[in-house]
Symmetry: C2
Subunit: 358 residues, 2 copies
């Protein structure tokens, strides 16, 4: 029985919609004629139908124009740090350094070619999105749209004179975006798309095939496009959860509706943090993430940090411990986190304030 009393604010793998979990449970029991989704061959027509449907729904939900391909791969977004550079960098690329994940992407690319960091917010522990100028003579510009650990987010679709590559692992499907502004988008599934184990990659086809290096087969986007994401056995069950998540989003009313819900959840939570005398945000207001809300104790109440952790846990709130490099708290309010859970956290913060400030 799924307990109603748990509010899961985990940064990922994160909360999934009840409908998605139930559909997956059912497919584990019986996907086709008593055969579990865990044991169905990826070469059966029943599975290929799911693959095609997932791609079609992804195109529909994200409004992906002609000329783009969608692939589903294992190995995580971290493997994409390497694949992006291998497939797109002829000589040099520029990157925006907005946190640990961006830094990891940079490090992997530096092995492949020349990397120019055109902006960084490392000076203030990545608590804001830095200013930058995009040069026109680089192979691509790489950004991390949402920085899970720090709670900052680039929420507009950037105009870039060179191909724009975006790691959207933690904010894909959270709002409508103008795909035509991007040349490549990648996102691991376990925040807004489904279960861990699959990464979604959306590629403008014309940017491929322009590098001189010999790309290892398994790292070559063109190989995976040619083989419809089945060059090797795909992560079947994880892709199935993506399929169900897209159905859920469609049923809910699409990304415009999702955006409204997400903005409302974030507005409520930031308002409480700003109001509450015990907590404060760590992030520059204009760069606040709609997905990951980071907050710490006001200096005067620092000694209450463990107390609040414990108090929240007693109230069914889990997954709010901040990343060790930031400390404090982080409430991840991905698509599937309900407004009820947000209200539960807000109530908990209010009650805690009352307990300690008279």
């Amino acid at each position: 029985m799924r307990s109603k009393s748990i509010h899961n604010f985990s940064a990922g793998p994160g909360t999934m919609a009840k409908e998605v979990i139930e559909a997956t449970e059912k497919a584990i029991n019986n996907f086709w004629n008593g055969v579990s989704i865990l044991e169905i061959s990826h070469r059966t027509k029943e599975w290929i139908k799911v693959m095609k449907e997932t791609k079609r729904m992804m195109k529909e939900v994200m409004d992906i124009p002609e000329g783009y391909e969608i692939i589903f791969l294992g190995g995580g977004a971290s493997l994409q740090f390497l694949m992006v550079a291998m497939n797109l960098m002829n000589k040099k690329a520029c990157y925006l350094d907005t946190g640990i994940w961006a830094s990891k992407a940079i490090k992997e690319a530096e092995n492949i070619g020349e990397v120019k960091i055109i902006g960084t917010s490392k000076d203030k522990n990545y608590t804001y999105i830095p200013e930058y100028q995009i040069p026109s003579d680089y192979d691509y510009f790489h950004i991390t749209t949402n920085n899970t650990i720090y709670g900052t987010e680039i929420r507009e679709d950037i105009e870039s004179p060179i191909p724009l590559v975006a790691d959207m692992s933690s904010d894909i499907l959270s709002r409508p975006i103008d795909i035509s502004k991007y040349s490549l988008i990648y996102a691991s599934a376990q925040k807004n798309c489904g279960a861990a184990g699959v990464t979604i990659i959306i590629i403008k086809k014309e940017i491929l095939g322009k590098v001189n290096r010999k790309i290892p087969t398994i790292l070559d986007y063109q190989v995976h496009i040619l083989n419809d994401s089945m060059y090797n056995t795909p992560p079947v069950i994880s892709i199935f959860t993506v399929n169900q998540t897209l159905k859920y989003i469609k049923k809910l009313g699409g990304l415009e509706k999702i955006k409204q819900l997400n903005e409302e959840k974030a507005r409520l939570l930031y308002a409480e943090i700003d109001r509450n005398k015990i907590f404060k945000t760590t992030v520059l207001k204009k760069d606040r993430s709609i997905m990951n809300v980071c907050f710490v104790m006001e200096d005067h109440y620092n000694q209450l940090e463990n107390d609040f952790s414990e108090y929240a846990f007693q109230n069914g709130i889990i997954g709010i411990k901040g990343h060790r490099s930031v400390g404090g708290f982080r409430a991840s309010i991905y698509n599937a986190v309900t407004i009820d859970s947000v209200h539960a956290l807000i109530k908990c913060m209010r009650d805690f304030e009352q307990l300690h400030i008279h």
Copy 2:
């Protein structure tokens, strides 16, 4: 409801034990306090316990000695074709060419250094395991122990003067092996270990750190060992099925017992193929696989191939179509395929013979 009438002989993803499917279904519904295994953070102590237990059981079941590490990665065995070469090849390595998968491993390694093919059975469409001499001056020797497509298998643990690397994707956990003979074993899960989405790698630690090249972080075995397979988010649900499969194997009596069961299933099936006037094997007797039993129609009955496919399907038998490069039929009888399913296939072959030979 799981239908009793389906006998799934798929080459992978393949049949899984009922217990494993049921335990996974339960964890999807409620892994901890109403939270699904699909939405539990990989940083929670509840999940870390599963990771540790899976590793511990793998060591126990496979009798892995000191000095070896076990890691769990996404990306499939095809990613290991690249990682093996990147991590172990300084200048040159030798490979045994026993089929399409071995050829793919060779192709990927040829990008990294000099590859010597010391034996191939390509001349007879890989229907036997070729003879070979292992040279002593190469960095490692790579074999594919079981060739899923062709139904051949190397069933003894080879003595090699240089580090032995084995792709055991389709026969790992099918019998006890002497791990000390191997320097690296890798296997995708979806045949004998669990659901697609995770690859298991067993590495003798002392063979690492000996190459000069700069290995990309995500492809570096040492990085994954250092981070206990959590350098990035692991494929949680697939690893969970490996955990449950190991529990099931332990309960059944371990690999010695599994081996007996597997050999009995294979003995029965090959005996029927040898006896039946309509079918014949394609593989040299001494190299017959215990996991994948390939057979075709005797020349005289070739025109009955589609009829048999249809007849088998009517009798609840699925997944027996041979790979397009071999044709005919392939019954994959991995650990979780029951002897009842094997008897059902045999009955079907006998009845079909009676229908057509009077």
